[in-house]
């Protein structure tokens, strides 16, 4: 993995929304570096800002939302400054494409799927009619649609959920983007189909040399596809590191809580672990560590000061006071200790 080349760099991004006269801060000074060719997973519970965060890379925020401060730099260009539609058109599809969560609604029901894919081919590959159609059929074949010539003329309602998601992926691929954002690509699908779609995405990433971002709350998906994991909570990335680092050696109490909630880590016969409480109200300013009120191991300082990033390894960092050398020793939960024991084996052979 060439981890040198940063393709997308987000710095201290703040995104706000105006809702019925009140202002909501959806993203609170989140920073992220995306390396060319990598596969990054952003995990977090519903409402943590995963989708909003990535939508801002394409200028797709809803009309009542805006970038308040911070910057997004893509291939050296500060795209967070873009205001006009014409500027974003240069990014959308061409550079960054997106696969949405619900394939049942993300296709136009009245146009044949061939036409919908071809639209992207004509727009971004500069091909016309017959050539574009040939290319479209090729892409349909690439995403695993059998009999693409026949399927080309069919309409979305003639496709199953999994097949529709393949079409949505085909549209994204047809744009020939550099970065592909998959917003919960398997959440709306049958479990049996999920693995197929993930395999497809992995294959396409290799074939088209894509950099991929997965947004998910399914850690199973993460383990399957990601090189790195970013854990998002209340609009900020609280921990980021290589997949194994975050899984086996998680540092942030929120990461612990997420991992402990995995059914696989539960003890048979005992209740499954759940994170108590609800995410903070984003209409108010959050003081200290946003997770502190739900964290049984919270320190006093967590309620007063926002923690900075502490490096765990050159590739792994977390925003928690636990990592501060002055902090008292905090014992992680049992399930995390088991994971750490496995980590010893994984990292030291």
């Amino acid at each position: 993995m060439e981890k040198e080349n940063i393709i997308l760099s987000v710095k201290d991004l703040v995104i706000k929304f105006k809702l019925r006269g009140d202002i909501l801060t959806a993203i609170r000074e989140a920073s992220l570096d995306l390396y060319e060719g990598e596969s990054l997973a952003i995990v977090g519970e519903s409402g943590s800002g995963k989708s909003v965060f990535t939508k801002s890379f394409m200028g797709l925020l809803d009309g009542n939302g805006w970038i308040d401060s911070g910057s997004i730099i893509f291939e050296g260009e500060e795209i967070s400054k873009y205001k006009r539609e014409e500027d974003w058109i240069k990014i959308r599809g061409k550079k960054i494409a997106m696969v949405f969560q619900d394939p049942m609604t993300s296709l136009n029901p009245l146009r044949s799927i061939g036409k919908q894919v071809q639209e992207a081919v004509e727009l971004h590959q500069g091909l016309k009619r017959d050539e574009a159609k040939k290319k479209t059929i090729e892409i349909l074949k690439d995403v695993g649609i059998t009999e693409p010539e026949r399927r080309y003329r069919q309409y979305p309602h003639e496709f199953s959920g999994g097949m529709r998601q393949r079409v949505v992926i085909a549209i994204a691929i047809a744009c020939t983007p550099k970065v592909l954002i998959c917003d919960e690509p398997t959440t709306a699908l049958d479990v049996t189909i999920q693995a197929q779609i993930l395999d497809l995405l992995k294959g396409l990433k290799e074939k088209y040399k894509l950099t991929t971002i997965y947004i998910t709350h399914d850690l199973g998906v993460v383990a399957n596809v990601a090189d790195r994991i970013a854990v998002m909570y209340a609009g900020d990335i609280v921990e980021i590191g290589k997949c194994e680092e975050v899984f086996y050696n998680g540092q942030h109490p929120y990461t612990w809580a997420l991992l402990s909630s995995l059914p696989q880590l539960g003890v048979k016969g005992e209740d499954l672990f759940t994170i108590k409480g609800t995410p903070p109200n984003l209409f108010y300013e959050i003081k200290g560590d946003a997770f502190a009120p739900r964290n049984p191991r919270a320190l006093k300082v967590d309620f007063i000061h926002k923690p900075p990033y502490f490096d765990v390894s050159p590739t792994h960092k977390a925003k928690t006071w636990i990592l501060d050398p002055r902090s008292p020793k905090v014992e992680p939960p049992e399930s995390i200790k088991i994971l750490r024991a496995q980590w010893e084996v994984v990292s030291h052979g």
Binding site: K94, F100, N108, P109, H157
Partner: protein
Amino acid sequence: MIKYSIKRLLQSLFTLFIIVTIVFLLMRLLPEEGYFGASYDKLDEQQKEAILTSMGLRDPIHKQLGSFYKKLLEGDLGQSITFRPKVPVAEIIKDKIPYSLYFGLAAIGISLVAGVSLGIAMAMGKGKMWDKLGTGYVVFIRAVPAAVYFLFLQLYLTSVFKLPILFDIDKPISWILPTISMSLGGIASYAMWIRRYMVDELNKDYVKLARAKGLKGRKIMIKHVFRNAFVPMAQYLPATILFTIAGSIYIESLYSIPGMGGLLVEVIKRQDNTLVQALVLIYSSIGIVGLFLGDILMAIFDPRINLEKKGGAR
């Protein structure tokens, strides 16, 4: 499609039969003095009886109905009895059709172009100036009884712009006001529906995907949103078009346009049974054909609609 059309045709014939029969019977329930108009007081009972018998109104109802349908099957709509006695109904109506047709077509053209453009402008700038103005217009047209602004237009515009008050075939300038009046309602309905359906479509996920694909706003509007918003309209478009062409009852009598709409009001007043029956037959057929065309049009636009299979997916 053919099987469906035949089925629909049979159903339509049955519906027509019911409508015409009911109207036929209702006309027979009207008080008899209507048949004599102004001369009612001058005639004695015997003369009246003789006239009614000659009109066939003294026959038992089932016999009257039977002979009406028998003639209808032969393609004979009968003769006028009071409006223009002894003149074939078909001839009277034939003279009226061109007026209604021309005014109707002009009004449809204006209301489609203006209404759809207004609707698109409203949907694209939702909550902005055009939307507010348009909504104001739609609410006004829908809430205020049509007679009020029709009369207002006739009264004030004719005096301000020195336009003739009544229709005159030789003066094209007298065609303007009736055409505008006839379009007002259409503009409001088309604008309202287009706006509504487009706003519905704009919030759908496939529009987000189209944006993420890199399509420009204008292209999304035309290729995706407008087309999809048009489908629910397609269903009742033929019916409204046909009805407009068939003539506006109120406008035609207001401006004394010798069209079909004005005729219907006139012949009901005069109790010209055969003419009323013929006109009702025409209007109901138009309604039924309109709805049928609407369904066909929708099936053409929307690939999900299959007119022949029942139930089916979802």
